[in-house]
Subunit: 270 residues, 5 copies
């Protein structure tokens, strides 16, 4: 319960289940493999996954390929992961890392408004009436925001992925700030993102309880320099400067599954 | 000794010995193995372990399989671990991590009440009389709480496991708080858990002296989103916001041992 | 927005895309390989990359070879990375680490001057007029600084590479300093570099959004002791002493691609 | 020199040289090996090492076997390590970690008493006379404490091993406390240990200059739950709560060398 | 510039280039190798490196062998590293870590004296005249200290090596202390070392810009217990207690190159 007598946690909406899989290609083994046979099995199988699985080539030693899967449940993600693992192609891939999350919309503004309204009406926080009002708001928002909760993978050339936490330091602790203060910081943070909306598509997914960081951030753009400009500018806003903790960054180039052979031969067409 | 002249450590009860074993499947080797023969040895052996060993499929690169063992002693856990290691199946498994602990019930409320009662009676802390009173309370509680100390593995579809510590920072140090303050924080923390009791079953195990974190947390649910909602809400309570330090998170799907073949062929039925 | 009502982030210019690739040589395998054949394929391919790819021998266990690629885009860097990976030589190289960045010029001085000028003229920060003025300044500077944005790889004997961050500590946080203060600290920092300009050539690249640190620093010199003297002296300036966080350091000796055979035979001529 | 004009470092006594070696068993290779032949070489060699080498089975992925060696010098430890490495058994063991230290008795009480006595007599700290008095005290104590300096390995069923440091934080720094304060904290700490003396045997070894932590702690008991109770209770004393930093914990079950074959076949008798 | 108007960085002298190479022996492969042939190649090659390359056996899992090379340049160190890598022996060695540095003498006392003298004469810091005076002092000292800058490897039985940094914490920052304060702390620190001069030979090397820590420390002694006593005592002086950050510790026993065969057979004579 925050100081103002309203809950500290904002309400959130969850949508697609998301799995990032990063792989290093075993180039030596691949060079000696019957590549065409393996591709003849892999490409149709990957294409059968449809547009909710996307292929990226990664730059640098942290991986060569990234598969991004959006699904309706962890059950389906597990099926996708196993489907990939049972391909002969998997013999030539070494998993370097992965990230499990669900698309999340944090409803700071609506939550604070609802909480304050209910409190002003004298509704007991977390009472049945309170919970019903929250459920109603969530149901309404889930409907309105359906396209953002179950997005398609934006068809941009470049991907930037990184996980992040909000800091819980000894003197600077996001989770000890009043919800109204967090709402203000998130609002300021969102304004920066809005100015980049034309050139960067952003999908936030939540991973508390699922993976080692609290959120995953996926940015999609045709010009990778906008990732740098956007993130650098955000680093100075209070929500990031004081409270954000960042994991590793992954930079990928989108390829269609049919390019996989060219990618593995080292000669993809840009 | 805490400031109020009573011991700082709450009494705890210990129950089942617990081992989490996480494995990556060596898919390439498995694809070339005489799978059926290996399963014909492994499945009966695993089934012979009974309901106190459960199998989970893990999502992501941190592992493909998790075996959760509840036993009556470390001796028996060691037997289980060796029994698994001597299966031919073990040739196709690579241990990525593990966790050793014992089911624990922290008796903050009863301890504070008992300590204060004894102090008010003028009993010398840690005197023979004091210790006898503690032993008596523990014996009584152990009896009353037997089912929670030696639980069965909850038959839910999803598992969330993570280890955690209480922080000992330079200005925020759980172990320097008076026991009454810690009792209050744990009480508040417990209230959140109670609201989720219908949808999440929680088992806490202690690992001080046994493994690298102080506690292990296992959550069992049929809908994995409740893990996120519960842990996110708890992150704002004072016990977590200021004092909790979290390790890696593991997300598993429960399978029966008889599904192992389907799982290893990449085609488990959901 | 910084306190003075002007943006907190300085404007930056970006130039060449940069990839550092560090490799360990698989000496045992190489000793048994048909070395000449492999070199006959590799050397022409590497030479065809031209002067924007440079070869260094690394000291110590962190790697034996470093390839430094400057290109016009991440697309081209990816092509270079794949071209190297598809060489038979790659069978004898194990990637130990890498770094992805773009040459960056941070325009603290011009930005503060421009921001203050616009503010004094009453131009609304981030308004269309404001952005136009920024774009105009950037376009002009990009032209003037073209050789520094798209530099050639300095032909010095020694390379020192390391990544770095600016700290965001609980009490010391670079990103919470007013832009004028950061400008002053960067100015002081630059004065030290200027005194070493004759003996050290420095190229700064930015990697926010691309790799795990905020910047990469490449120093080139004929005498490696000047790396130590320069960095030690800088460590005492306020920008470094209080705010710099350093990653791993790599020390390399420049070799021409045609020396690769001698290097792999363990007998390069100095 | 501490504030009171006496040295800050307590005198210490050193005894046996200690090496912990943790190994993972290569189960797959072992399953295919001529096990009996290898054991026929290994068991007599290990038994020849006598009672100052003990064998433990470890729980969890951090290792399967732990060899604990007590010797009279690092020279002898090196001989033991090499003797093990040259066994054919070593082909089936993968070193996961190790710890090098010497049995240490920290003489806080005697040191403070001696230092204060000498100071009161007007002896110049660190003068020849001062050093002679220290040497004399050390010689006397070394004689009296010989059995604790050169202990046998306690014949208990369970081992708990972990390394630790004393913290040197920015505001909480063990090494900046006056020696009298540290003496008081160590005294309080020791009282807890003394209450467990019947059920736990503790051996402290020092590793400053030898390994990556300052001390190693070995606890031996027949009931592993007492490790948890002892360490948990100690975590609340000031010396641990504020100043202790812990490494990884290892939990082992003692086996006689003649059990090695049964252990490697996965079927040791408890 | 420090507060007193004099530079913050002390002058330093640099001498021999130093490379520590730590290797694990691949015991299994070695057991199956034509050991004598390999030694017949390796021993003469290593002996040809002369007394500026020394061989140590390491205790514990961090490595089995350590080669310590002192040379006149990084160029020569690179030659030594490559010469070792091209031996057939290298097939049986796995590099675990390494350290690159140059012997360094920090001239705190002379620097402060010179800086204050020049300031009192009204010489502008960092002016040409100032720099000339510094160069002159350095040239004179380099001559006087030549044997300490280009030392031979002390012929003691035991080696202790560790890297270290000076802390740059939020409230305790070595690099923000006035040079006079640092001089005082280093003086106090040096006094402890001097009392151990008879039993420990110490060589400090600087690695800023070359490797991941700021300094490497090599201690040489015939009795390894003095490493512990010296480092423990130093840990209480202010320079170490408040400002030192330590890396991993390596403990080695000196062997002559001709002992290599005995060492690899697991039977060196002490």
């Amino acid at each position: 319960m925050s100081e103002a007598g309203i809950p500290a946690a904002p309400l959130t909406l969850e949508g697609s289940s998301v799995l990032h899989q990063m792989f290093r290609i075993r180039w030596s083994a691949w060079r000696r493999a019957s590549g065409q046979e393996i591709l003849d099995e892999a490409i149709p199988a990957l294409e059968a996954m449809g547009p909710r699985t996307a292929l990226f080539g990664l730059l640098g030693h942290k991986g060569d390929l990234l598969f991004l899967h959006f699904r309706d449940s962890f059950e389906e993600l597990h099926q996708a992961e196993l489907a990939l693992a049972r391909l002969r192609l998997a013999d030539y891939l070494e998993a370097t890392t992965s990230y499990l999350s669900v698309v999340e919309l944090g409803l700071y503004e609506s939550s604070v408004k609802l909480y304050q309204g209910l409190r002003d009406l004298g509704v007991e926080p977390l009472s049945e009436e309170w919970e019903r009002a929250c459920e109603a708001m969530l149901a309404q928002q889930a409907k309105a925001m359906h396209p953002r909760l179950y997005p398609e993978i934006p068809p941009r050339r470049y991907l930037c992925f990184y996980p992040m936490d909000k800091k819980r330091g000894e003197s600077r602790n996001w989770y000890e700030l009043p919800i109204q203060d967090r709402q203000g910081l998130m609002h300021e943070h969102g304004l920066i993102g809005r100015r980049y909306a034309g050139s960067v598509k952003q999908i936030i997914s939540g991973s508390i309880g699922f993976d080692d960081w609290e959120w995953g951030v996926d940015l999609f753009a045709d010009d990778p320099l906008v990732f740098k400009k956007l993130i650098y500018e955000m680093r100075f806003d209070q929500a990031s400067a004081a409270y954000a903790l960042f994991g590793k960054f992954y930079l990928g180039l989108r390829y269609s599954v049919s390019d996989l052979g060219a990618l593995l031969s080292g000669t993809p067409s840009p």
